[in-house]
């Protein structure tokens, strides 16, 4: 398959993003992801942003919040448990990140939401929250947030 350099980069970065999707609850491992994309760890974040328009850390935050939204919608797990299940180690960071991205608290979201009846991959893709405000990205998400 003859790919242009940019298309080849896109495809490798998509593999890395798919890996993040699969392992969203684990700490962000930029070294491993860079390996999936055949890039050096120092270049990975910059190339990821070039291709997808956001940093790996930001993408992971939205992915985790999207999963949290699904768990809040579909289960009666306590909010703290939901935070843990999607990869946050601190309820405070989870609540702050969730509110910044979704625009309401996890508890408020749970009260407002309705279950939707379409394949879950579409729900995940179409309910993934867009950026509302900047959430601090000072620390790479080590899972200890």
């Amino acid at each position: 398959m003859a790919l242009s350099p940019q298309e080849d980069t896109n495809r490798r970065m998509l593999r890395a993003r798919d890996e993040m999707d699969r392992r969203y609850a684990e700490p962000l491992d930029l070294v491993a992801l860079a390996s999936v994309a055949h890039l050096s760890p120092s270049r990975f974040g910059r190339v990821f942003k070039d291709v997808f328009g956001e940093t790996p850390h930001r993408y992971l935050q939205r992915r985790r919040v999207e999963r949290a939204m699904a768990l809040l919608r579909q289960t009666d797990r306590p909010v703290t448990q939901v935070a843990w299940d999607v990869g946050f180690a601190s309820l405070g960071t989870f609540s702050r990140t969730f509110s910044a991205i979704v625009g309401c608290s996890p508890s408020e979201f749970r009260q407002q939401t309705e279950v939707v009846h379409v394949p879950t991959c579409f729900v995940a893709a179409w309910t993934r929250p867009r950026e509302r405000t900047t959430v601090s990205e000072k620390q790479p998400d080590s899972g200890a947030d």
Binding site: L14, Q74, H117
Partner: protein, 155 residues
């Protein structure tokens, strides 16, 4: 309003290499070639699943006279970012399908998960197209609705 439209016959899936697409869709997923004709201006390549003539997938390259070079490049860019398309398939043994494809080195995007309607998992073709394979449980619409309602009631 009556349009008299009666069936889904062929839908296009954008690919970047038709031979590699055949290796994947026929060699790994189990499709069969329905038409493979060199029309001069294009290779008309369609595939379908065993035992059913239609619907078919047209494995189509971006480009051609209807797209200028910039548009074709944009389509290729979107395809390789995973931002195009999507195919939903069913299997009568989804776990076996998953294991076969995983062992064949296919890009799995989600392991099998239980859903109110059955079990399914996600993967990508070599170009970035997302594919979902489900084994439907046979639950009726009412049973599926009830499962979703029970999920909601637990909240």
């Amino acid at each position: 309003m009556t349009t008299h439209v009666s069936s889904l016959r062929i839908t296009s899936v954008k690919v970047l290499d038709q031979d590699e697409a055949l290796d994947f869709y026929c060699g790994k997923l189990g499709f069969e070639v329905r038409d493979d004709a060199d029309l001069g201006f294009m290779r008309w390549l369609t595939i379908g699943l065993p035992g059913q003539e239609f619907p078919q997938l047209l494995l189509e390259l971006p480009g051609g006279p209807q797209q200028d070079a910039e548009t074709a490049a944009a389509v290729r860019d979107l395809l390789t970012k995973g931002a195009l398309g999507g195919v939903f398939l069913t299997s009568d043994d989804v776990l076996a399908t998953y294991e076969t494809l995983r062992d064949a080195g296919v890009d799995i995007t989600q392991e099998p998960v239980e859903q109110p309607y059955g079990t399914d998992f996600g993967l990508r073709d070599p170009f970035g197209n997302p594919i979902r394979i489900s084994q439907l449980s046979g639950a009726t619409d009412e049973e599926i609705e009830r499962a979703y309602r029970e999920q909601a009631d637990r909240v």
